[in-house]
């Protein structure tokens, strides 16, 4: 009997090459784990280098596929559960860049700790796969699988500093609250399934577009959407679902924090685009006001609470909440044209913001990592006193990142903000655009405060000299170069981001 069933089971056709970025990361993870376990400790820096190479290869494959998509159009893979479009590839590249930079940053940080081995790097790669699956999912269940792969890796990463109670606390907090949000999300999928009869995004769009509500139960769908928004809101740390973020960001090892703020956030927002903008345009008038309110409170609360912090990691955590508010402004703009043939500039502005912000936030946390190493893990703002006298180049790099986060021209941060505001204004969302800009001014105060501490106060008498490890230096230099080059010549990236509106459906 069993054998007969196996005979009749027809597996979906799998286009292996189209899945190659994910497969590269997966294969790389396994090789890293196995080889790492079976061989003696690798020479200095090789784990990080291997990780960066794997992520780089995945990124290059994604670019190759970008060309293929440009030439041959978008499609869905593996029986329609994975979307093969430039949105997936854009986010894949963003996530791979994030992994490369974070791996370089982690190298020196992990040396001399019990974690100096392949495990942390393997977890980065696993999380990256999860993120890519989230960004490419064309089925809510697959999206949930990606979400869990990302989240589970991040729970472990957050608590990975075994010598620190704060890290353990951060891990457990993240785990409990993350578990809650996953449950919300899953329940949301169940309700939406109940309302539409499918979890596949393409089928869902088709079912809703026919105007046929199979069970005649719209409230089921709306309740499902509400739960989905709660789940996603947790993952992107939108107010009022943000309370975990400052504690987790502060407690986690700094490279991991940078990973959560870049890759984690980018993947969660990509998932939000998939779930809301691509899958549920039918209900856009229902969920758009919710996003509007979320954007508003996220911007305001994030900016104001950032200003009163004293710990640099906590400041950057709140500032990342305020940046999430900016991205939500882009999502709100995308909502106006969701599901139409020309969806407008909302989605491109969101993905542009994500890639630019990811690099910025990793760069910022990289400087924090380097500085806090010399002060014994202390990330109080006082440990940045007089950094300009001790390490002028490092202070200059941090200044570039902070100015970019504040949205000063000639940096990538300005291009990111400009794109989002432009998208909002084009759909006549003037109020939220103005609120976002005013919130940016409030947040600018925070960045100025850090800069003042670095440039105008004298270093403490007992301040240790700050050593810049080579690999972290490379990561910081690359991030600075990217920030300035994109700030001056952004056209190519904007062109690339503009293609994501032609998503697979």
């Amino acid at each position: 009997m069993m054998l007969q069933q196996i005979d009749t089971f027809v597996g979906p056709e799998v286009n292996w090459f189209a899945l190659s970025p994910m497969l590269t990361l997966l294969g790389g993870t396994l090789v890293l784990m196995l080889a790492g376990a079976l061989t003696p400790r690798w020479p200095k820096g090789l784990y990080a280098f291997a990780t960066a190479t794997i992520a780089g290869a995945a990124g290059v494959l994604a670019m190759v596929q970008w060309d293929d998509i440009t030439d041959n159009g978008t499609r869905t893979l593996v029986a329609g559960v994975i979307a093969y479009d430039t949105l997936s590839m854009f986010m894949t590249i963003t996530i791979c860049i994030g992994v490369i930079l974070v791996a370089l940053l982690s190298d020196e940080y992990l040396r001399g700790t019990p974690n100096d081995g392949p495990e942390i790097y393997a977890l980065y790669l696993v999380a990256a796969i999860g993120g890519i699956v989230m960004a490419s999912a064309n089925d809510l269940i697959v999206l949930f699988l990606g979400l869990e792969a990302l989240s589970l890796a991040l729970y472990v990463l957050a608590s990975s500093n075994r010598r620190s109670g704060e890290s353990a606390e951060s891990g457990i907090k993240y785990f409990v609250l993350g578990g809650f949000s996953s449950a919300f999300f899953l329940y949301g999928i169940a309700l939406v399934y109940g309302a539409t009869g499918t979890t596949n995004i393409s089928e869902m769009v088709a079912a809703l577009q026919n105007g046929v509500d199979p069970f005649g139960n719209e409230s089921l769908a709306l309740a499902g959407i509400a739960l989905l928004i709660v789940g996603l809101g947790f993952k992107v740390a939108a107010v009022p679902f943000h309370v975990w973020a400052p504690d987790v960001y502060q407690g986690a090892p700094t490279p991991v924090t940078s990973f959560m703020a870049s890759v984690g956030k980018a993947a969660a927002f990509a998932a939000m685009l998939r779930v809301l903008v691509i899958a549920l345009p039918f209900y856009r008038d229902d969920w758009r006001p919710i996003i509007w309110v979320l954007a508003l409170v996220t911007l305001v609360v994030g900016s104001f609470l950032a200003v009163v912090q004293r710990n640099v990691k906590r400041m950057l955590a709140y500032s990342s909440i305020s940046h999430a508010g900016f991205v939500l402004v882009g999502v709100e703009a995308a909502a106006h044209g969701a599901g139409e043939a020309d969806p407008g500039p909302g989605m491109p502005s969101v993905v542009l913001y994500l890639i630019l912000y990811s690099v910025l936030v990793i760069g910022s946390f990289a400087v924090v990592t380097v500085v806090s190493r010399s002060s014994g893990g202390d990330t109080d703002i006082d440990s940045f006193k007089g950094l300009a006298r001790r390490r002028p180049v490092l202070a200059l790099a941090f200044t570039v990142f902070l100015l970019a986060q504040a949205g000063v021209p000639f940096t990538s941060g300005f291009i990111a903000k400009f794109g989002v505001i432009q998208a909002a204004v084009e759909v006549d969302s003037y109020a939220i655009a103005i609120i976002a800009m005013v919130a940016a001014v409030v947040a600018a105060f925070l960045y100025l405060r850090i800069m003042v501490t670095m440039w105008t106060s004298d270093p403490a008498e007992d301040a240790e000299t700050v050593a810049i490890p080579f690999s972290a230096g490379v990561a910081i230099a690359a991030a600075v170069a990217f920030t300035i080059v994109v700030g001056i010549i952004p056209g190519w990236l904007i062109d690339a981001a503009d293609t994501v509106t032609a998503y697979a459906r």
Binding site: I421, Q422, M437, V441, R449, V452, G491, D498
Partner: protein
């Protein structure tokens, strides 16, 4: 006029005016620590090179042309319709020259006392930003330069200022950025709405101004979004509170540049992006601006009178003077607008020189408090004489530059904004009150023990001040070459306002140049030859 054309010799001089300071700044930043004498040489070469180019620009500027000259236009960010579009007309020409003149003098004349290298690098970046703001004809390009000047200025104030510098620098940054926040949204909305008329997206100022037709209420909203940013920058009461702090706490060079050219970004912006882009809205809202301007004139003067800190006094006098410029701008007559433009230059020269003097006093006595200074005239008569000339120019005494501007503004404004002008005229008297009173307290009387040893003006300081004094006298007795270049652009601007509203410019009652309010002097050299000294 819209075609991309460069200057007579095909050299992209406007781009060079922006890039030379940037390159200078990078070179300064890259000099090794072991050679502390090099940064100043590089900075000076860069600043003098910029000055030479701006003088050449003025010399080859076609007098009598109202359009933009030396236009250079290149696509920059294609998907967003942004181009590197630069041009200069009569309104911006002298602001560019003023920027060229002030920076080399600030570099030579003022010693930062510590960390000279970053100081010079920031100063040059500031120059590039200011130049870019005056030259750009693309909304996006204008905005990024308008915004970027905050960064070097912030660092100059926070790094080289006086006791309360961090507070002042932060306040300055946040106030201006808040204004810009509204402008950015307004700017993008302008482009988005204009693109519906034009059929394509462009940030080009000229294309939008000529091709787009904003509905009346839309235009008014957009104008206000821009105007908030400029009102903060000018600054107009009630958003002026950053200025006394920033001016007082800034290092001398910072104050000179802030008063000299950066405040003009606000009034220039009102002309270029208010009157030119939104003529109807500007005309409609003129009672508001006239009222704010007059409040600024009177309030600034009264506040200046009551100051105990000499630098703060000069700062508040700026509030009053900038009020005159706004008054002239929103009176919509050729004379008042020409007066406003020429007053921008005059205020830059006079107040810049005043801040230099206050800086020198601080260097000598380490105080800015009026109460601690007395009898300086006895021990340093040349110093006092120089201060006197600059002060009289600031008061607006005939024969010096301040008079020309204020007189043109008041005569022009009287025709269209009579009662505002009447009140504003009291501001001239108040200016005499606070400046003369301050002069009396600081320079007259018997010097006490601490002021006995007040050193006389040094030769180097004198050489730095000479161009300022030359300009003050020259512009006072022979402003014609300057006015000739300004007026065509102003006439075009007023024509534009007349076309878009029911406003008709009244005939001037006093014709300057025909009845001879300014005696025609004999020199026919361009107005800033003294500026080269």
């Amino acid at each position: 006029m819209l075609a991309a054309e460069t200057g007579p010799i095909g050299f992209p001089i406007l781009t060079a005016l922006i890039l030379v300071p940037v390159i200078g700044s990078l070179l300064v930043a890259l000099t090794p620590k072991t050679r502390p004498e090099i940064p100043k040489v590089i900075a000076l070469m860069s600043a003098v090179g910029t000055l030479a180019m701006s003088v050449w620009l003025m010399a080859s500027f076609e007098t009598g042309e109202s359009g933009f000259q030396f236009v250079s236009k290149h696509t920059w960010i294609e998907p967003w319709g942004i181009s590197w579009h630069l041009g200069v007309d009569g309104i911006s020409l002298f602001l560019v020259v003023l920027t060229g003149v002030l920076f080399p003098l600030a570099i030579v004349g003022i010693d930062p006392h510590h960390d000279e290298k970053p100081y010079l690098a920031w100063l040059l970046l500031l120059q590039a930003g200011v130049m870019g703001s005056f030259l750009s004809l693309d909304l996006f390009v204008f905005f990024i330069f308008f915004e970027i000047v905050l960064v070097p200025m912030y660092f100059l104030i926070a790094g080289w200022g006086y006791e309360n510098r961090v507070y002042a620098a932060t306040k300055f940054f946040l106030f201006t950025m808040l204004g810009s926040a509204f402008m950015l949204v307004g700017l993008i909305a302008t482009v988005a709405i204009a693109s519906r008329d034009l059929g394509y997206t462009t940030f080009d100022l000229v294309e939008i101004a000529e091709g787009a037709d904003f509905a009346t209420s839309t235009g008014r909203w957009l104008f206000f979004a821009f105007a908030i940013a400029f009102a903060v920058k000018v600054p107009l009461v009630p958003v002026h509170t950053w200025l006394p702090d920033a001016h007082t706490q800034a290092p001398t060079a910072g104050s000179v540049v802030l008063a000299g050219v950066m405040l003009k970004l606000g009034t220039y912006g009102l002309l270029r992006f208010g009157l030119y882009l939104f003529p109807e809205a500007s005309f409609w809202s003129r009672p508001l601006w006239l009222t704010l301007a007059v409040i600024g004139i009177i309030y600034g003067a009264i506040a200046a009178t009551m100051q105990t800190d000499l630098k703060r006094l000069v700062a508040y006098s700026s509030v009053a003077h900038m009020g005159f410029i706004v008054l002239g701008t929103f009176a919509f007559t050729t004379q008042s607008l020409s007066g406003a433009v020429i007053q921008m230059i005059n205020h830059g020269v006079s107040t810049g020189a005043l801040f230099l003097f206050v800086g020198m006093i601080y260097e000598r006595r380490h105080t800015r408090s009026i109460a601690e200074l007395n009898g300086i005239q006895k021990v340093a008569p040349i110093f006092a004489a120089g201060f006197m000339v600059v002060m009289l120019s600031s008061i607006g005494v005939p024969g010096l530059n301040g008079f020309v501007g204020e007189f043109l503004i008041l005569t022009g404004s009287f025709l269209t904004a009579r009662w505002w002008t009447v009140v504003a005229a009291f501001g001239v008297i108040l200016a005499a009150l606070y400046l003369l009173w301050a002069y009396q307290r600081v320079f007259h009387g018997e010097p006490d023990e601490e002021n006995q040893s007040f050193p006389e003006l040094r030769v180097k300081e004198g050489l730095v001040l000479l161009p300022f004094l030359g300009l003050i006298v020259f512009m006072g007795v022979y402003p014609k070459p300057v006015l000739d270049r300004i007026e065509p652009a102003i006439d075009a601007l007023i024509t534009r306002v007349e076309e878009n509203t029911d406003f008709v410019e009244p005939e001037p009652t006093i014709r300057i140049g025909e009845h001879g309010n300014d005696e025609p002097a004999d020199g026919d050299q361009p107005s800033d030859e003294e500026g080269d000294g």
